[in-house]
Amino acid sequence: MKGQMGIVLVFMLLIIGGVLAVVLYKAGSSTEAIETIEYHSFVNSLENHISVINKRPIGSRDRFSLAMPPTIRQVCFSANDDVYDLYSFPEVEAQKNFDIGATVFFEPREVFVPLQIKGFSTINNPLCVSVEKNKLNLNLESKGGSVEISAVTEQDVVPSSCGSLIYKGEDKLDLVFLNYGYETVSEFRSDVGRYFDGIFLDLEPYASYTDAYNVYVVDEEVDVCSISYLPTQYIKCDVTQLHKVAASCPHDYVFLLADINRLAGGEFIRSSSIGNLLKVNTADSSMLVVAHEFGHGFGKLTDEYVDSATYSRRVDVVENSPNCAEVPCDKWSGIAGTGCYPGCSLSSYNSPTENSIMGYYTRAGGDVYGPVNEKVLRDKLEVYS
């Protein structure tokens, strides 16, 4: 009997061990995947920053804080071989001999391959800059034909916490993501990637303007918001202080990502949009809620579902919206694929399509904006393309 119990116990331990091994392996591979995305974002952003500063007049200087994968401790820049501080950084020397033509090196060296980025110079060769709180802080100065990279010193005034994830150039639409309630930075960054990819890279009309967006993150958790239950369940913030936090990054639109599962134990909390601020309940069962809120903020579109009880208090909001009209719906006459469908915020107004992202986005036909809303958004996106 005892022998049989022993065999069962060993068998159970083997199963538990196997499950643990699989879970750990999966967790490890997902962390690696996030790090790889962050690494590629860093490479693209660095190249874009160098390209933009290079086009500016000689002497133009700018400061950047680039988001880095957590495993990278130091980044070394070595653009040429002539003046070389061999004794200070023997590891860089070894890597340069191994990866011929490489100019940017990472420590620890085994995690990411060195890069062959051109168009920059450094006063010290190599220039090695430590990664502080997952950020690499650099000064870039135009030298006419090349860009001089230097480390940000303590004397430099840097907006404390901004990290650049994707940089496509100046005059682009700057999106900043703020962290509210996440347990770890990697979970927050993972959600930033999920929403940005899901909305701005996969959904029309945003997907047609993939070069129009700069993406920034503030990893430090904001402490100026709370979950409000009156008059309804939503995320309430001290907006003045929240905008001050967002101002540490270039920001045309601010996305506050709230880990509601941690903050409110899975209770139903609404996402919302006011001005250029979007507060997102990341536990919402549909990612399209972000597209819906961005439609409010960026497109100044109103809801195409009817909520007379609340909208009757601000009828002017519906009157002035580009996607709600009274019969005969002159606002969108001539746009193909549109009609005059009853109900748009108020029952006395009409929508251009039967359903859309601005309507019931979880129902049939709710996964696209429709011709009128797309046109409104495209016209605005053109400004940043």
């Binding site: 700018d62 400061r63 005034v157 907006p159 100046e170 005059d171 639409l173 700057d174 008059p231 309804t232 939503y234 907006v239 003045t240 202080q241 929240l242 905008h243 001050k244 967002a246 101002a247 540490s248 990054c249 270039p250 920001h251 045309d252 639109y253 139903f268 909390i269 609404r270 996402s271 919302s272 949009s273 006011i274 001005g275 250029n276 309940n281 919402d284 549909s286 809620v289 809120e293 409010h296 960026f298 100044k300 109103t302 809801d303 579902y305 909520d307 009880a309 609340t310 909208y311 208090r313 601000r314 002017d316 909001v317 019931y360 986005y361 979880t362 129902r363 605005k380 400004v383 940043y384």
Partner: protein, 157 residues
């Protein structure tokens, strides 16, 4: 005075070129009173402000210095906060009528007024530094000192 105005105009042309660089900013805490936007508080900071390139509203904010407009932007004042959510197949929405909102604008050394305008109204707010009152006082003190010295010298003769 003209020279000062000229310098400010030069700054005005430089602003669009350098807006991407962090600098002094003001977060304006705005609220509605009888349908008009009023400045409740101004919080100073350092960082960036939105370009609002794709936004053309009927409200404007101007940052002024000595009668010269240093920065101007138009915006759509948010009267409501849109609320939305899905729980399974159930969609819950609606709006909350808001009585305040915030706006980030650049801040300048020497700025002395912020002007907020909407449909049919304009409100001006004095945001000049208290130190600027010292300037005329110092000038008067200097003139009085010179006059006293001159009087002493004349009386000695």
């Amino acid at each position: 005075m003209r020279f000062f105005g000229f310098i400010l105009l030069i700054f005005l042309f430089i602003i669009p070129i350098s807006f991407a660089v962090p600098g002094p900013i003001s977060v304006l805490d705005l609220s509605y009173e009888e349908g008009e936007i009023v400045l409740h508080e101004r919080v100073e900071g350092f960082g960036y402000y939105p370009d609002r390139k794709a936004e053309s509203g009927d409200a404007t904010v101007e940052v002024m210095a000595d009668g010269v407009v240093l920065y101007s932007t138009s915006f759509v004042p948010p009267f409501v906060e849109f609320l939305d959510g899905t729980s399974g197949d159930v969609s819950l929405g609606g709006v909350l009528v808001v009585d305040s909102f915030a706006l980030v604008v650049p801040s300048f050394a020497g700025e002395d007024a912020i002007i907020i305008a909407g449909k049919g109204y304009t409100r001006s707010y004095d945001v000049g530094e208290k130190g600027s009152i010292l300037l005329p006082l110092l000038l008067i003190l200097a003139i009085v000192t010179i006059l006293i010295i001159l009087m002493i010298r004349i009386s000695r003769r």
